[in-house]
Each structure stands twice: as structure tokens, then as C-alpha cells.
Symmetry: C2
Subunit: 259 residues, 2 copies
């Protein structure tokens, strides 16, 4: 077991110390589920690449032009000296390095965890035009400017044009609901029906992924928003129930305010 | 273990006794992998619905107009009296009913097997405009007429218009290769690299699904076709290697010619 706390690098928002990124949430949930000591350090969007290069964290992707793309989460483990990027790789690292803690990726399910995410992402892709513009608004100015500029360059349009409006709004939101209906149907596979998790009674990375997406929507849209309240009603309340079930693995409500 | 052979209902082609359907292949592979005795009976496309109703096999889907949709594979197990439709449900039935045989769906992976298929189908959807018209040509006249008519109704165009031609051909085929590249990348997840199967060293339903798709392409395009030969070269020969590895679970080259 670890003695010195692992450092989790996360992206701050206007709500100090409250995590919102779906990807860093996967790692945060995982660290808490494993009962490993950790502390959060916050890195604004425009600083992520330089920061990763400085500490020696690998890029997680390659851009079309061949340049490296750096993302968070990254963890730094002072017990081993390891610096790991990418939430899947972090989960694997934690499973291997701390073998006495519950597994995030049960043996033989590595490919399945990945393809579950791919299937989920495809089914719920209608969420993006809603959540990306919403997230921009909860970031602090320096990250917001960077986030909006880079996302607009990728999407080829203004985020204000991305967000569904007028007659498009209702059908676009219905499409999101239907997408989550597809995921719900998968989770209700006959042999899994009534079971709390993707793998039945055993929590795994895939559940943390879904719960992380829910944290993203809750923070991005706002807990009091109609959109989030809608999502809590969809599919018989499945998504809110999952977040509730994992509440014990959220960690403290405010994560170390190192800034 | 079974004493009386299970009956596997399959769809015939112009090559008598040679299976070609990706869905019935999943069941055929599964029965052979489990070492269960079975025999094949062949049902032409236009007869499937009436036949299923007659023997009491459930529909596998509901059409948009609410009517039931009957498909093969269906199995009939004279040892228990069970009649099961849908290759996933058949795999579950066989795992439960013959617990001493190797599992097709290891515990906890039911949802993952399903979402693997969803992710695979999405990644390789570019294959459809090639394979659907190709399959029409290998069916016997009564099935061919039914298949072409129903597929054209669903797609809203002639199958001859669906098949990529002229300047579209090369980019459309490249899209298929890239789609399989995506699946290959998933299978090469770091913790799975060099392992033969989706779950590493353990064969499961997901592998039978991929191999079934390969049988479909091999039979549909023809073993001597350029398309199939291309597929055998893609991704370092992964797909042909999988088929070779599962050769021992193909069953006899010609399946009981009950007609």
C-alpha cells in the first residue's frame, strides 16, 4: 500500500476544489475505490502541455498534424516515482502496483472496458453539442479562453452555434435521451438485469466511466438545471442511482485547494 | 452433456451444406467449441418467420411497425425441449444447460460481449455496402429474391446502387480497412497485446462473433476474390489468423444436407 499520497493532476473550474472533468473523475473514483491516499493539484488548460513535458508525463494522443496531445488526468506516485497519463493506463498501473486493492479492470476485460467506452461514446454522442458549450462556462477565464478557442478550431464553428437552439433544441435533447436509452438497454441484458454494475455485482472501470460522465453533466449543466434534472429522470433514474451508489468513492467534497 | 444432437437451424446458400451467415456461425462455432453434438437443418429466408412460429421460436426483434421479426440461428434441444432464438441467448442457454463445457460468456461479461459487438458493428459499418449485395448473389433463388426485396425496402435503394462503384470504390474500401484498423487497435490494448483473443488467452463469444463475420466475408466475396484476399492482408493478417485458430471449431466442412 502507498504511504505518501499519490498526486492527481486535475483541471480547475470556477467552483474551487470541485472536480468536473469526466476523465479525471474516472481516476478520482478509482483512487477512492482502492482506498489509496492522494491529493489533487490543479492545472489550467493552457498550462497542461508544458506542465506534462516538465514532469515527464507522456502525451495521450497524436494530433492529425503529428504533434503530441497532452491531457489530464496524470498521476505522480511518489512511492514508485511513476508518472502516468491516460485514465485507462492509470487504472492498469494502480491495479498492478497496488495488487491488494480491488481491481478496476478485472482480468481479461481490458479490451472490453475500452470497447464499452467506444460503444457508450457513440450511443451518447448527441450529448456533446450540449455539454461542450456548457463546460466552457464553468471554467475560469484562462482555461475558458483556451477551451473555447481550441474546441471551436476542432469543430469549425462557434460554440454558440454548436448548442442546439430553437426548433432543434427538443429533438436534439430527445436524441440524447434515446442514446442513453441504448446504453440502458445494454445494461439490462437479461443476465445482468437488476444488477447494479456493468459487470453485474462487481464494480469496474466502465462504471466509473459512466459515473464520471454524470459528474461532468451535473457540474457542466448545473445541479439545478432542467437538463440535469431531466437526466436524473431518464431510464428509471438509473444514472442518478449510479452516482448515489458511488458517492462513498467521490472523496472529500472539496479537494485540496492547491492552486 | 447432451445425448441427442441439438438441431441448429441455418440459412442455405448455393454451396450446399456450407454455412455463410455471420449470426448462425456464432452458434455453430459455439456448439463445436463446447463439443456438443448437433446437426444442421436449413431454412430458406422466406420460410423463416412461418417456421419459427410453427416450432414456437421467439422473434429476436420488433420492426418499427410493431410486428415481430424472426431470424436465425434458432436451436432446438431435444434433451430439454428448449427452443432458443438469438445467438447471444443461445450462448447463454448453452452455458447454463451444459455447465461442464467451456463458457462462451465468462461470468460478468454479458454486457461487455454485447457492447463489444456494438462497437465492432459501428467501426466496420463501411463493410455493409460491399457485403450485402455480395451475399445476395450466393443465395439460392428463393432466398435471393426475398433477401434483395427486403434489404432494398429497408435501404430505400437497389442493391446495385448500394455497392460502391467508379471513383467511390477505392475510398469506400479504404474506409472498411480503417474500420478494421480501429478494431485491431482495441484488440492491441497494451494489456492484451500479443494475446490471441478479445479476453486475452480465453476464447469467448466476442471472438466467435469476429470469426463469424470473417466467414461471412470469405463466403460472400468468395475465397478467391480480391476483397477477401485484401482482408487477409489487413492488420498484419489478424483476421485470417483468427479464422485459422478457430478452424478446429468449424465442424465438418459440409453440414448435414437435410434440405
Amino acid at each position: 500500500m502507498s504511504n505518501k499520497p499519490i498526486i492527481l493532476y486535475d483541471i480547475p473550474s470556477k467552483a474551487p476544489g470541485i472536480a468536473w472533468s469526466p476523465n479525471t473523475w474516472k481516476t478520482r473514483y478509482g483512487l477512492n475505490y482502492k482506498g489509496l491516499a492522494y491529493k489533487t493539484e490543479w492545472v489550467e488548460y493552457p498550462d497542461i502541455a508544458d506542465f506534462c513535458i516538465k514532469i515527464g508525463a507522456k502525451p495521450t494522443m497524436t494530433r492529425r498534424d503529428g504533434s503530441p496531445y497532452y491531457t489530464l488526468p496524470v498521476i505522480q506516485d511518489p512511492n514508485t516515482g511513476a508518472i502516468i497519463s491516460d485514465s485507462m493506463r492509470i487504472a492498469e498501473y494502480l491495479d498492478e502496483t497496488y495488487p491488494d486493492t480491488p481491481k478496476l479492470i478485472p482480468a481479461g476485460t481490458h479490451v472490453f472496458q475500452k470497447t464499452f467506452m467506444a460503444a457508450y461514446d457513440h450511443a451518447t454522442e448527441g450529448l456533446w453539442p450540449f455539454i461542450i458549450p456548457a463546460v466552457a462556462k464553468i471554467l475560469r477565464p484562462t482555461s475558458e479562453e483556451f477551451f473555447v478557442r481550441t474546441r471551436e478550431a476542432t469543430l469549425g464553428k462557434k460554440l454558440t452555434e454548436v448548442y442546439p437552439s430553437g426548433d432543434d433544441l427538443q429533438p436534439a435533447w430527445k436524441k440524447v435521451e434515446d442514446g442513453f436509452g441504448k446504453v440502458d438497454k445494454w445494461l439490462n441484458e437479461p443476465m445482468n438485469e437488476g444488477k447494479p454494475f456493468v459487470m453485474g455485482d462487481v464494480l469496474s472501470y466502465a462504471d466509473l466511466m459512466i459515473a464520471g460522465e454524470m459528474q461532468w453533466c451535473k457540474m457542466g449543466f448545473g445541479e439545478e438545471s432542467d437538463l440535469w434534472k431531466d437526466m436524473l429522470k431518464w431510464q428509471d433514474g438509473r444514472w442518478g442511482k449510479l452516482v448515489d451508489r458511488l458517492k462513498e468513492f467521490e472523496g472529500p467534497p472539496e479537494q485540496d485547494l492547491v492552486d
